[in-house]
Amino acid sequence: MLSKILPEKIAKIVNSKLNLKGVNEIRFRADKPIIVVVGGKNYFLSENGLTSSLKDALYSSKIVIEDIVFRASECSIYSVNEQIKKGFIVTENGLRIGIGGNVVEENGQVKTMTNFNSVNIRIPHSIKNCSLSCFPHIVHDNIIENTLIISPPGCGKTTFLRDFVAQLSERNLTYNVLLLDERGELDAELNANFYDKIAFSSKKMGFENGIRSLSPDLIVTDEIGQEADVEAILYASTCGVKILASTHADSMETFIKKSLFQNLIKEKVFKRYVLLSKRNGPGTNEGIYNENFSRLSSF
């Protein structure tokens, strides 16, 4: 899947010298060494694969970066401008490519991004059973508790969500699951049967339209980060729909202090909180908490 977007020389090295199953990210920065993140640790990319030696590292250039963005957009940047405005592109096979460059604003609105100077290719993984330890706390007597997955970036939130949906399917728990997927990456490598998907929509619109038109039992969505997202969740919780969502925070203490979530905490919308970290590699379960933030289990 990387061959389509990477320059031929780099694609050859990546495909022949790296085990992509362990690779989390590949980062390209203009005139800087190419970085490969494996198991949460950074390495340089060399002709012979991974290296820790800077002198063997392969360097990226601005042309390479622009070409990656061009190829990731299927040679049609105009067709993915709405994504580029938000700083990323998701390819058809679920690769999420974060983009750095110059933001062009007009009347306070982001119009586009130009002069790309860095890209971060995140390789989606489906880690089977990574949500299994939390599963009995979230689903019991066929009832799903509203759950929020909390972690810093790159700690496996999306992978957790994906595996949880797969676990439901594997157990033949035929809930109607709605993936509300702002970035179009949630169902990459997802092996599940009972889900619908609304992609590239704002949370507010996705929640409203999804509940109205698809009658979901459970809505799964990634990265709650704005007031409008919180309002959408509060709305869904009053409609009898269960919610599995994720957000960024590095600890429960930080999360509890965030003003954005005060309403959700006060209303006890989420009955379970799962904290993930990179301590033993991405996806390390640090604990599961109830609505009163009492730890139910640590791992």
Binding site: K4, E66, S73, C75, I77, Y78, S79, N81, T112
Partner: protein, 164 residues
Amino acid sequence: MKYIIIAVLFVICLVVGFTFFSKYDKRKKFFTSLIMLAEKLTVEINFSRERLKVLIENFDKNTRQNLLGIDEGFVSYLDKKTELNEKEIFKKADVLKKDEKDFILLFLKTLGRSDVENQTKEIASFTNRFQEMRVISDTEYKKYGTLSLKLSLIAGLFFVIVLI
């Protein structure tokens, strides 16, 4: 035998004339079709925002035939099978001049590289230049294309009369 030679000479004159005519005809049709492609891209990029490859592949088949293979070369580049250079793109476009090839190559290099607004402006600016090229090729067609056909017919008849 004499009549066979006369007939052969007459045909040769017509073939030479038709070859020149065909060159100007191809050029005229090429620029007309290129402008149609550019206009189609402008409309689709603004409304459907479909991928370039799909837009080019869905472009009218008959009009595509006049594009002298540059559409195929470009799709092949989009598929990462060939490079975007003069040698690969203009394999079948020997009727185009060097400066025309350079300009068309520049046009292809800008496709898909920017947002809708900028892409539309870029295509419009290239289309203006393509219009000028079409006017020139149209004038050449009228001036030299039909002239070469008429001259070849006159030359053929001249040989017929002289030899008879």
